[in-house]
Subunit: 410 residues, 2 copies
Amino acid sequence: MSEAKPRQRLSDEQRFDWLRLIRSENVGPRTFRALINQFAGARAALEALPELARKGGARRPLRIAGADEVEREMNAARRAGVRYIALGEAEYPPLLRQIDTAPPILCVRGREEALQQPAVAIVGSRNASAAGLAFADRLARGLGESGYVVVSGLARGIDMRAHQSSLATGAVGVLAGGHAKPYPPEALGLIPRIVEFGAVVSEMPLDWEPRGRDFPRRNRIVSGLSLGVIVVEAARGSGSLITARFALDQSREVMAAPGSPLDPRAEGTNDLLREGAKICARVEDAVSLFDELRDQRTYEDLSETREPAEEPLWSEQALFGVDPDKTPKALIGDQFDEPGGEDYEVKDGSIVARIADLMGPSPISLDELARMAELDVGKVRIALIELDLAGRIEHSGGDRVALLSAEEPN
Amino acid sequence: MSEAKPRQRLSDEQRFDWLRLIRSENVGPRTFRALINQFAGARAALEALPELARKGGARRPLRIAGADEVEREMNAARRAGVRYIALGEAEYPPLLRQIDTAPPILCVRGREEALQQPAVAIVGSRNASAAGLAFADRLARGLGESGYVVVSGLARGIDMRAHQSSLATGAVGVLAGGHAKPYPPEALGLIPRIVEFGAVVSEMPLDWEPRGRDFPRRNRIVSGLSLGVIVVEAARGSGSLITARFALDQSREVMAAPGSPLDPRAEGTNDLLREGAKICARVEDAVSLFDELRDQRTYEDLSETREPAEEPLWSEQALFGVDPDKTPKALIGDQFDEPGGEDYEVKDGSIVARIADLMGPSPISLDELARMAELDVGKVRIALIELDLAGRIEHSGGDRVALLSAEEPN
């Protein structure tokens, strides 16, 4: 075992600011990261938000999470036994830390240690067959006995069976909404039992009622926590396939249980096999694959040495403090009116307009945009933050972005 | 379409001699080929057989098929509408021609043209599930509609369903025994219907009652006739997996239909998928794969240009006549006592003994043997023919051979 590096910890004030920032309108994990990296701290980013959104073309003021609102959430969380773990802290799940859209704050109920163990996700149909449920049970037990935490999405059918069968060895459930609004109702009895030996996590505000689009979003955390995803029964177009897609994007393993060509519940998994997923027809298929992954290096090492994201997720400085030589205000000024290096004048507002003109419904990368706009990458990045906060941007994997057609520039 | 090359045809006398040779004891397709290549014709090989077997260490005279016996078979075949097609003749199935152990004589009932069309084998469990049978039906119809002849082994279950569902478009059945002893009884009603638009083939004597070991042997012809084999439901250790193994050895495609991890009838096919077989969960999976293969070049071309066997199957000369300058007798003498090139004397009997001494239960190649024995390959090849005819050799893929332990040298 390699020795875990000591990691820093947010101060109470920083954690409060982080929560306010991520709970603010149009601030997703990617925008959060861009803001923190740009403004060297959440407090400065919060201060800059209104102006950034205005420059990005927002038609009305951005809704910034109020201090009172966040304080209420934190108090309720404390009473409910929910802790906030920030990206970069030692307790943050090591594999989840590596994904592009890692939640800046993870809300955790249960045993945080479960989030440090090697984990495998088992997901599948809500209306599973008896055979599918039996196989999910067999898989979850086998993986649990082999030292894996089993992750799933708390849905009916395969997910719930995977949780039930891994209660004793360590289960991790991921909510689509907040901890105070568990869904579906069938999961209500299960959650306290998961919390006993495992953990239930959410990235949403405590009292967030999950809506349709929150479920696919949740699935990236299911795969992000895991070395790989095993799909047991999935119809075409089902949510489990979204989890598999996330796993691929995150360079995680994808396994699929085969099924009869005549069974619609197997169409999705058979499609996955056709596309190159590894077959999981025996518990040993999964255990041997993940043991190999785990044995290649220790789990700690794995989280440290896997292919890094294109840019560092956070500079230690941006994460945990503000460089005294670069106050946020100075930074904003610098970036918008960088001295020298450019042979023509660029006014603040014109950059956003120029970038927006160059964008369309097809995703384009930051570098391409900078080249086309003949601007340096730093300027384009800020323009994108502004457009993003104004709700005019759609992210699509890596650093590619598209302009949302509904929102026309002012 | 490339123009088919005109091929030669055996004379009646040659066909008669070929049949006698292949019907003689210890003469399988490989030995037949070695003999024809060595003696430049079946007649000369027949004459040499007794002496070769004696030198190989046979304890009793080799049973050579009698002229009367072969004449009886040919007469009965004529009455039953069975024709003998020899390897190298235009009517011989082009893909089957390419395999190492192609039957020298194929006994055919039905429409020979069906053996010239692109073919795909569908095989599987005898005790198939309703879903397995339904999928076999769907596959056979789909492949038939796309212009493929469907090949199978006339067994109960999947095989028979594949035949039934391809009757109208072209079915080819391969018998494990002779045409006069069709097996299993359930196939009796089916065979005349296959013969109408397709063909039933066998390599065995007309009245050969199939025994256990004839079924796996038959399976190499099922795959050999086909661009690929699709396995629909197969338990572990079942005969369909032998067909898949043959297909791999013959560089043919192997597809497998997936099945539930809890269904024992799917264990074999799921194993195949694990080992790299292509998934066949839709008719389009098969049609698109084989259409691509077929489209790469015309069917005729495919049979001509695929990777050739290590040595040419037959020289045209050996196939269809004897070089007047090399009478069989002269050839035998030449090979056993080649003038020059060797710096020590080798007596006839001593070569076989030396080769047998060098061999054991582990397969070894001809080239290795020649190197170890410090003899040229031609001499070793003849010694192997002799050992083979004496029943002392086991072949195991390519040109590798092992000594059978039961038979000790005299």
